[in-house]
């Protein structure tokens, strides 16, 4: 789903190898085609979020970044968060947000901040 310069991807149900491949292809295609600035990935609909799925998500975020967009995971529930921490899966380099709205705000602020840094840099330079 497209929202301005951002993409919102909702993942649902079970993720098997084939689904993962398909999702990776579709998202990268979309990001490249729409020149999206940011991708929000809503994981609240996933049946399971184990270390496999966590690795898949981390990979997805890396791919999106390589295509010049920011990625944020939204909708990790308390139970999933505890499970991931216990599994030792930290998704350390991934942005997270409580919900899509907050995620969007954060991405926008981040972008504005970056923009203002660039502007101020230009001013000085």
């Amino acid at each position: 789903m497209r929202m301005g310069p951002d993409l919102l991807v909702t993942l649902q149900g079970d993720l098997d190898d084939r689904a993962v491949e398909q999702i990776e292809q579709e998202i990268t295609d979309q990001v490249a085609r729409t020149s999206a600035r940011a991708v929000l990935v809503d994981v609240s609909g996933l049946a399971v979020l184990d270390s496999f799925v966590a690795r898949v998500l981390a990979r997805l975020v890396s791919m999106v970044r390589l295509l010049g967009a920011d990625a944020t995971l939204v909708g990790i529930s308390p139970a999933v968060a505890i499970t991931l921490v216990e599994l030792g899966v930290s998704l350390r380099h991934v942005n997270t947000a409580l919900n899509a709205e907050q995620g969007m705000v954060r991405l926008r602020r981040l972008r504005d901040g970056e923009a203002s840094r660039w502007t101020s840099h230009d001013d000085h330079g």
Partner: protein, 395 residues
């Protein structure tokens, strides 16, 4: 066979009997015939026994009481006399025998003597006594149900403990299947059959569950089921020992409930501002409390959609590596949900000891006072970008 052979034939027959004593007495009770069975039983030889009165085998008390004469008289009068009692062997040892005395009559009807048949029942008597002792023991157990089931689960014995536990008396249950004490749900699930199968396989089974009394009320039973095996190792039945643990279960549940309530009280999460939560930590953090704390904090974060959480540790006496690990796990889980954390209330000595212990807090922000922490939290909420930076990728 010639008529003249008959005595010899009987002789042979009687001599072949070794497990019983079959002897002839004269009308006064004097032994007039002997055979190997009698010798086996009493240890006396024919020479030692023949011609002796029957009292040879009686105990001193029985002799004083004139028991032998009374028995012979009774046999003569009624035509047959049966008794059991102690007899003395040649070596002085006593055996428990069953005796049948039958009079032999002359053609004119007068008693010419007696046939005495005796058998050693010492072992049987001991077994009977043991059985009876076992039964009495079972009957004496009033607080436990101790019953026997056959291999198909049909009740074969019942004891007072079982009466007390279930309200059923023996006649109401013997011959019926043990599943009669189970709830409808357990009956449908064939729980009784499963329990017996496991007991037969593993050699015993301990289980707990609801069982139903005669009056329809239920009790929480602890059940031990053990298979009874025959010599070939085949299961011929089960011994079932059960007791009522309803009260204990209720107490355990009460304790659990109280513990939950205390945990609830000891891990309060307070919303101090829109999207800002404070978790004041007080006292020692054990792993159970820490897990509970993480859980309730994350649930609260989801509920309030909180963006910043302040973990106030000013009430924690010491932070060792275990407590620090719990805190960091909580912070990590909160971050995965999209919420930033601030640590507050670290005292100088705790800061020193934490660094000495090598505890690494990563990118977690810390403030010494709750006021400073709150100010930081509010700034972060108002400038969402700041939060994004904090929550987001750490280098």
């Amino acid at each position: 066979m010639a008529v003249g052979d008959e005595p010899a034939f009987f002789r042979q027959m009687i001599d072949s009997i070794v497990d019983y004593e079959v002897i002839r007495l004269d009308e006064k009770g004097v032994i007039s015939s002997w055979h190997p069975g009698a010798q086996h039983l009493t240890q006396y030889t024919a020479e030692e026994a023949i011609g002796k009165p029957i009292t040879l085998f009686y105990t001193d008390e029985d002799i004083v009481e004139g028991k032998a004469d009374a028995e012979l008289r009774a046999a003569a009068e009624t035509g047959r006399y049966e008794t059991e009692g102690w007899r003395v062997r040649k070596d002085g040892s006593q055996i428990w025998v069953s005796v049948v005395l039958t009079p032999i009559r002359d053609p004119d009807g007068s008693v010419a003597g007696f046939v005495k048949v005796a058998a050693d029942l010492t072992e049987q008597r001991q077994q009977n006594l043991a059985l009876r002792a076992g039964q009495q023991m079972l009957d004496g157990i009033a607080d436990y149900e101790v019953i026997r089931l056959d291999s198909g689960g049909v009740v074969r014995s019942w004891n007072p403990g079982a009466v007390k536990l279930t309200g059923y008396v023996a006649d109401e249950v013997i011959g019926r299947h043990v599943s009669m004490f189970y709830s409808e749900e357990d009956k449908r699930g064939a729980v009784a059959e499963r329990e017996m199968a496991i007991a037969a396989r593993d050699g015993s089974l301990e289980a707990e569950g609801w069982r139903i009394r005669k009056d329809g009320t239920r009790f929480w039973a602890n059940v031990m089921l053990s298979p009874i095996l025959d010599d070939d190792g085949e299961v011929t039945g089960f011994v079932k020992v059960a007791r009522d643990l309803t009260e204990r279960r209720e107490q355990e549940q009460l304790v659990q409930r109280q513990r939950d309530e205390i945990l609830e009280l000891s891990t309060p999460v307070i919303q101090v501002w829109d999207k800002v939560l404070i978790l004041p930590l007080i006292g020692t953090l054990d792993s159970m409390r820490a897990a509970r704390l993480t859980e309730s904090l994350l649930e609260r974060i989801a509920l309030d959609q909180a963006e910043v959480v302040i973990l106030d540790v000013s009430g924690v006496p010491a932070i060792d590596s275990g407590v620090a690990r719990h805190l960091l796990k909580t912070v990590e889980a909160a971050r995965l949900m999209g919420t930033a954390s601030i640590l507050s209330g670290i005292r100088p000595e705790i800061a020193q000891s934490m660094v000495h212990l090598g505890i690494e807090l990563g990118g977690l922000r810390s403030r010494t006072s709750l006021k400073d922490a709150l100010q930081l939290a509010l700034r972060m909420v108002h400038a969402g970008a700041d939060v994004a930076e904090l929550v987001g990728p750490r280098a």
